[in-house]
Structure formats: C-alpha cells, structure tokens
Symmetry: C2
Subunit: 384 residues, 2 copies
Amino acid sequence: MFFPEFDNSRLTAQLSGSRFTVVYRLAGDEQTSLAKAKDICAEQSVEFPVGILPDGAIPQQIVGRIEEFVPETENVYRAKISFADEIAAGEFTQFLNVVFGNISIKSGIQVAGLELSKTVFGLVPGPRFGISGIRGIIGVSGRPPLFTALKPMGLSADNLAKLAEQFVEGGIDIIKDDHGLSNQVFAPFEERVQRCAAAVQEANVKFNRKSIYVPNITAPSEQLLDKAHFAKEHGAGGLLITPGLTGLDQLRRLAAAKIGLPVFAHPAFIGSYVMSQEQGINCGVLFGTLMRLAGADATIYPNHGGRFPLSVQDCADIVQKSREPLEAFKPIFPCPAGGMELHNIDEMIRQNGKDMLILVGSGLFRCGDDLAANCRMFGEKIKG
Amino acid sequence: MFFPEFDNSRLTAQLSGSRFTVVYRLAGDEQTSLAKAKDICAEQSVEFPVGILPDGAIPQQIVGRIEEFVPETENVYRAKISFADEIAAGEFTQFLNVVFGNISIKSGIQVAGLELSKTVFGLVPGPRFGISGIRGIIGVSGRPPLFTALKPMGLSADNLAKLAEQFVEGGIDIIKDDHGLSNQVFAPFEERVQRCAAAVQEANVKFNRKSIYVPNITAPSEQLLDKAHFAKEHGAGGLLITPGLTGLDQLRRLAAAKIGLPVFAHPAFIGSYVMSQEQGINCGVLFGTLMRLAGADATIYPNHGGRFPLSVQDCADIVQKSREPLEAFKPIFPCPAGGMELHNIDEMIRQNGKDMLILVGSGLFRCGDDLAANCRMFGEKIKG
C-alpha cells in the first residue's frame, strides 16, 4: 500500500467521464498485439504497473481503455484505446504525449486514427482560412490553384523578386519561398520579404492578377511571431512554416496568434514518423489531421511518383484527412509536391479533384527556357 | 539561362569558406548509395537540378560536397557531406533542416555523425551545468546519482509531495515529475511544484540531504519560460522538458534563457527517429549530441534490457556522445531509464562507469512494500 493518503472520491469528482480515442495499428500475432494494446493503456498514462495502482479511478479512468481490438490483416491488429480528456491537461503538447509519447520508442505501433472529444478539439485553433479562405484571397475557383517555390538558395533577394515577378506573369497563384530560405546572408529575411512581396504586388497590377507571396518564417521560436508580423506588414499573402523544425506546437502558436494570413505547413524533418507502416504516425493523421488541428490552412506533402517514397494510399489518406468533415474545422488544401512535373498533373487531378494546391517547383525549369511560358503551360495543363 | 541577373562575385564574397560536415549512413549497393549521397548534396541545399544552376559559387559552395564515401558493411556506405556555414543562416532550426530536412522523407538515409564548425557550435547554448554542475548541486561525487520519478498520474499534489519526501528519506538525489504530469486538474502545475519543492526542502533538512526536485515544464510554448521561472522561484532544483513534444528548438530556447537550473531532456515522442538502423538519426547523435548542443545537462533515454528496444550499441553511442570532448561544451549525464530495476544496476555501472544518472521509477515499487527502504536498497546497490 504505497499511497495511503490517495483520495479516490476527490479524483473521481475531477473526472468528467469524457474521453478521446486513438486508433493504433499493431504489428504481431493476436497475443503480441493484444499485449501491446494493454501496454499502451499504461505506458501512455500512469506509466506504472497496473497491479499496484491504488484501487478506483486511477485504474478505471486514468489508465487507457481498450474500446475495440480487431484484426486488420494477417499479423496486424487495430486497437481503439480511449483516454480521459483530463489527462491531456488542456495542452496540445500533452495531448501529443498521450497519443504517441513513450510508445514512439516501441516497435510495431503506428498511430492510425484519432477520434477526438470536444475538449481535445478545444485545445487547438484549427485552420483560420482553409480552402475557401485561400481561394477567396487569390480569387481562384473551379480549378486547383497553381503553386510554386522561389529557389535556388544562393540567389539574392533581388534575384528572387525577379523570379517572383516572372511567376506572376506566367499565372502562378501562390509563390512561396523554398523552405530552406530562412535568413541566409545572401537573401536575408527582411530584405527578401520586402523585395518579393513588392515584386508580386507590382506584377499583380501589371498583369491583372491576385497572386500571393508566402515567405518562410521558420525560425528559432523567439523570432517566429515577429517574422510573421513583419511579413504581414510588408505585403505577404501567407506564411510558410516547417513544424518538424520548430515543433508542431509552434504551428499551433502561429495559428492561435491570428496574424491574419493563411499558414502553409512544410513536411521537412518530420519524415521519420511516416517512413514505416509498422511504426510512427499514419501519413493521413500526421500531414492531414494533426497539421489541420494545429492550424495549417494548406499541408504540403511529398507526392507519390516524385522524388519521395510515399505510396498512392498514403497520399490518398492525406487528401482525405485534409478535407473530411472534422468537428467545426475548415477543410484545408492538400498540396502534393516533391518532384512533380507537368506530366503528373492529369493524374493528380484525377486522384484528388480540384481542391488541392499543385506545387511544381524545379519542374517549371525543366520544360523550356522561358520561365513565364513554362508557367503558362502549367496553367493550361491545370485549366485543361 | 534562368538567372541572368545573378551576381556570382557578390555571393562569393559573402561565403567564408568555412563548412560543417554531416556523416550519413546510406543503405544500398555502391551505385545506389553514391546516388543517394549526390542527391543529399542538392536536396539539403539548393533543392534544384544541379545541371541548370548558374555557374560559380552556387554549385561550387552552396550545394553540399561529398568529402568522403566509404563502404561500412555489405550494402551500407558512409558519406561525409559538407555544407557552407552560411546556409545554416545562424539558426538552430535551419541547421537541423540542412542536416535532415527533406531527406527525413527519403528511405535508406541515417544521420550517423556531426562534425561541426565554430559557426555552427555558436548557434546553440550547450549545457549550462553538465555533469560537474549537477554533481555540485546535489553534492554527490564518486558514484552515479540516484534518480527517480513521481508517479502515477492521478495522485494529488499532496500525494506526490508525500512520495517525494519518502524518496528523500530513502536517499534519492534527484526526483523528477513523471514526464506525463503537466497541468492536470488533479495535480496542477503550480500547486504541484510548490508542494513537491517544499516537501523536498523540508525532507533535506530532516534527513540531512541535498536532493533536488525537477518538475516537468513541458507545455505549450507561450507558457514554457513562465513555468521555468515559477519553478526556479519556488525551489525546484532542475527542469524537465520533452523536446519531442515542444520541438528541439524549445530546449535550446530554455537553455539560452539562463534560468539558473539544470535541464533534463526526456525522449518521449521523438522515438521514430531512432527506430530503424536504415532511416532517421543515430541514437548517439539524437540523444547525445543534439540534446547536448541544444542545452540539456542530462539526457534520459530508454536503456536496453528494459521496456524499450534500443540495442547495447545504441546505448553505448548515447553514453559516448554525452560525455566525449565536444568543442567547449560540458559533458552531460546520460540517464539510462525505461523499466530499469535494481538488478540492472551492476551491468549499467560496468558498461557506463559512474558518470551517469540511474533512473529507476516503477522499479522502486516492485521490490518491497516500504518505499524508503527500497530506495535505500537502490542506494546500496549503487554504492556497491
């Protein structure tokens, strides 16, 4: 009897009874998978041997509860495990910890789905703009918006601004910084944002467009919101952040800060969570649900058929989770990317429909010497 | 000729020539691995087809450079790739992006080592206390300090404080919150910190010890530093943070803020980076080098032989990287944990020597009904 002073009635009164559910995909035969499910219930909550817990609400409500355990395929099982809302403590960080904290270091466990409660939905801002908000800003309906990136690293702010102008001329709707452009001396953040935002605004007037420039504000956290405000003040039309580098919580913080610009999430550094079917977080949950909950209005991901190894199914999951009904959260743009070329566009539209951003970067430089003309070819492909 | 206005002499003048090196472990035969190495050079820098870059400093200096390419074992190669200091842009976040940004979403690439430059070392605070600083605070030399955790979740702040008192009585040197205790209604952060810090201080007087209480300050980023200051003001002796949940950059921010308390890093949520030998980041680099650079004074990791699957070699790598000479950075405590029991201690000491923290949590509840007596057994095991 290690906890003689534990007051079970006090704890019971503090628990609402509301729970949220995580769906886990478990690798192993039935016995192994069931043992994993039982282990998750304790590992993600009390982290203590269940047999020596004080009786009452701790084993009954604080410890996770297996709500369903079913075979998926041979040697793969699905467990739905529910947790008391209160253990997420009103914090997005602690919610992530319950979902996949310690078990991120165990093998054969993948987060395959989330079925959340009002309390947990209330922990996150969700997307402020979503698909309809971004479409409104750029004035594009009825087709996928055209999306590209300013690159390569090493160009000056003026060089990048000149590129941005050509992109507007060619009809690109959304022009983002390459995610590696942060504050390098050859194109420092403030100078780059001012030059590129001004170039896009001038080109919009000249070519009668509503294109936007989306600078990369990924930075050490002390600078993140200042950069967001600077970008807004100087005419940027959106903000790019890489949550893998800053932490997912910084995406939440950015969206919660209500800067007044849509947020575009980039997948760099976070890939290790999705590189195995047996471990990590399902692509749709990570790039779809979690990015959306945390506040992304558009989620960039490496599409199948490009430079990256995600499968057709992985990408379909991301598209679905980005746009499916989810509490009161707006649907967000999935943005297939990562080595897309013009010849991939028909298939992308066939698979995903019109509510996506098609991100073609280097591909625009591969199909001819005239960049604006290449952009027009991109547009014609899409408007097809 | 896409970039007619690019000024190569301007860029050349902006590059110092200093470079940092990342060692990658590449899976595949020689041809495949070499292609991966070449791909990394562009993917992690210009993200652009090298053949159509403007001549000069971009392909020669901005693009990564293969410095060495050697076989490690059959179908595994090691490539040392150097990058210009300037592309890290003075930012820890962008440094991480160069090391493992987009390639985190490619298969068969593991970060196996870092050989950094003065500039890159200058991006991070490193540990403020390290092994010697923590030993000084708790007054322990010549043996591994005894480390445990307050749990299970569901206890009240008073219950946890009572536990902490028993731990001090039993001779535990460092008493941390379980990493899942954040701000739950049953033991809210401020109440818990005040009660537990006071209990440890009172017990120190009563039992003539110098034990410290290390609260978990992992939280949404708006609250992180406030929680750190609150903990310091109310008598905490260290701070626990889970960089996987907050982002590694928040560990850096915490250490850079000079709160005046040693920082303990917990491995939850970050496990997917180390779950494969073919993808991700080597255990030693992640839990050793990166945590240490970012500012951890002690790095908790799931030891082999417990509930987690890390190998003997993985753990040896963490111990080595925590303590090896690294610029002017202090050596930090490796903290083997994750299901350690008293019978594991002899082996841990044989493998790691005395400069580690031995974290036994639930194990202290498994070896008898008297907690303080169990702690004394733990101490006797360590003092040998």
